[in-house]
Symmetry: C2
Subunit: 342 residues, 2 copies
């Protein structure tokens, strides 16, 4: 017969005792069940709030075996607008729903991703919003299939609904724009095709080239894992010699800033020596002189859709099953112009 530690906080039993009702009635009143006499319910709620009662979310979630107390938010990084903007908006919307958001950063490491997902399941999260790593493990896929899941930015190839940026048009526009200016040798630095959107974006760029009457095979392509240090190296490879392309399109949010910095550090003038199109949030590239032409992704829109999708999935209603696309747009800065004359 254990003698547990003192109980500082007040709980349903206290309320019940103080009001001369049962804990069941208290619980029902506090959860807005309609089987409690309205006047009683009112009295209970008032007393609870007067006593400063706050329900223990752990106990609540453990008891009602399924609850929406927590959701997991699993992303590779958070210190880039592609993720931080989405994290902010999701935290906002979920908080309004009374759901707490557990943030985990995979650093694009599949093993960490798996571990974190297991831990989230151990917390009995109602669902997860996830932007998968580039090498999702099979076991991770299985776990995700057993959980209300919403993907964003990247897909792990499970059949969960997701929210993705549709860059096809904007990337094709970018190539078309460069071709119209007279560029014939165009470089592309993008994400590895191991990442779902890496493949899609490369496809869009190639299609854009075709539409513009260029042979897609003449594109000078570098596909990278989305780590900051990879971008600059690719930039030096492509542009570190006189016989270089006259234009560059960067197809990844994490790559854009480092590549742009490297280009700048190499002393190439925009757009005189090189025309540059980056990817992401144009406001981050507005300080550049000239401001950079950007494939602009609408992160807040993407975020609110992702959050809404998850909320719908973990609610009682019909679960949405279709993915959603948010179109990006080409925003003209001043970093593109005619190719340098011979």
């Amino acid at each position: 017969m254990p003698a547990r530690a003192r109980r500082a906080e007040i709980g349903v039993v206290d309320l019940a005792r103080e009001l001369g009702v049962s804990t069941a009635t208290v619980s029902r009143a506090l959860n807005g069940s309609d089987t409690v006499r309205p006047e009683l319910a009112q009295r209970i709620r008032e007393h609870a709030s007067a006593r400063g009662y706050v329900a223990n979310r752990l106990a609540r979630a453990l008891s009602s075996n399924s609850s929406r107390a927590f959701v997991g938010f699993v992303i590779p990084y958070v210190d880039t607008p592609a993720y931080s903007a989405v994290a902010a908006e999701c935290a906002r919307l979920l908080s309004a729903d009374g759901t707490q958001m557990i943030l985990t950063i995979t650093e694009n490491d599949p093993r960490r991703e798996l571990t974190q997902l297991q831990d989230l399941i151990a917390t009995r999260v109602a669902g997860v919003i996830v932007s998968p790593s580039s090498g999702v493990l099979e076991r991770t896929r299985e776990l995700l299939r057993g959980l209300p899941t919403v993907e964003f930015h990247r897909s792990a190839g499970i059949d969960a609904p997701g929210v993705f940026s549709d860059d096809e048009q904007a990337l094709a526009d970018a190539i078309g724009h460069l071709a119209a200016l007279g560029h014939r040798r165009i470089g592309y630095i993008g994400q590895s095709t191991a990442i779902s959107n890496g493949a899609a974006r490369l496809g869009s760029v190639r299609r854009g080239a075709e539409l513009a009457g260029l042979d897609p095979d003449t594109l000078e392509v570098r596909l990278l894992e989305p780590a900051a240090s990879n971008g600059p190296r690719a930039a030096r490879e492509l542009f570190g010699h006189p016989d270089r392309p006259t234009a560059l399109v960067v197809g990844g949010g994490t790559l854009s800033m480092p590549v742009a910095r490297e280009i700048r550090a190499m002393g190439l003038r925009l757009p005189d020596d090189l025309s540059l199109v980056v990817y992401g949030d144009p406001s981050w590239f507005a300080l550049s002189d000239p401001p950079l032409t950007t494939v602009s992704v609408h992160y807040p829109e993407l975020a609110s859709r992702a959050a809404r999708l998850l909320l719908a999935r973990i609610s009682d209603g019909p679960a949405p099953t279709a993915s959603e696309l948010v179109g990006s747009t080409l925003v003209h800065g001043g970093s593109t112009g005619p190719p340098p004359g011979p």
Copy 2:
């Protein structure tokens, strides 16, 4: 006699039954208690992992009335490096400790801040890392006092240890640098003194002026709530006319980018028309031409100290009580030079 829903997952009782031991022994083995015969413990752990057992964190936290399952991370915004870099590092370190981080965004709204804190307490978080809003409510302070708390960036005036950027030297250096270049009329756009570090930074700037032999009262100061839209307005007020200061120091991470953009939009050339010093992470200002001189804050260092401080506070050892300061440094870009000639 309730007949609850099916139990899909396996639990300690299953393991105990299958191995012919008690649940207590299973629990002890799994938690690395030294009172279990090593060989048995080993067998239990192997069996558990073979059966894919994952402990229910909710039950664990509820039972052992105090646990380190969760901590809260309460910040005004997350889509700016000052917060996202810290969030990333804390998530990393806490995750390594097996602690899950619940992210909440206050949007600098004191009422939301209070609600979120109450919800975190309801989840029985082991502690919170918090960057308070500008108008922390008294009730919020009380709650924080009852919780292992670590502050960063800003202080709510409770006596919790915290990690802060010490900008005194760097800001004084900035003013000194400008004065040495010949500037006599210097503008300062900073955060409201309602925010702890707003007051500190203003003090540093004034002291820097004194040291440089300038009258601090000649500084042209605008103190703002840290919302993105306030910066540009202040910039226009200070520089939207011919009789303007010749230099500007911005003393806030959220203000720097918008102010710099506005300066640029106003057509002022750096450093010919105006010398500019911003605040934050220099890599975000490196794209500018010239790169901006920056009071550079060491966010990752700050973050790892905050996480470590919280981990120490919620551990058994002696609780750290002292705040830590991380010095910032003035990083010279090319945005500062002599004042324009008459």
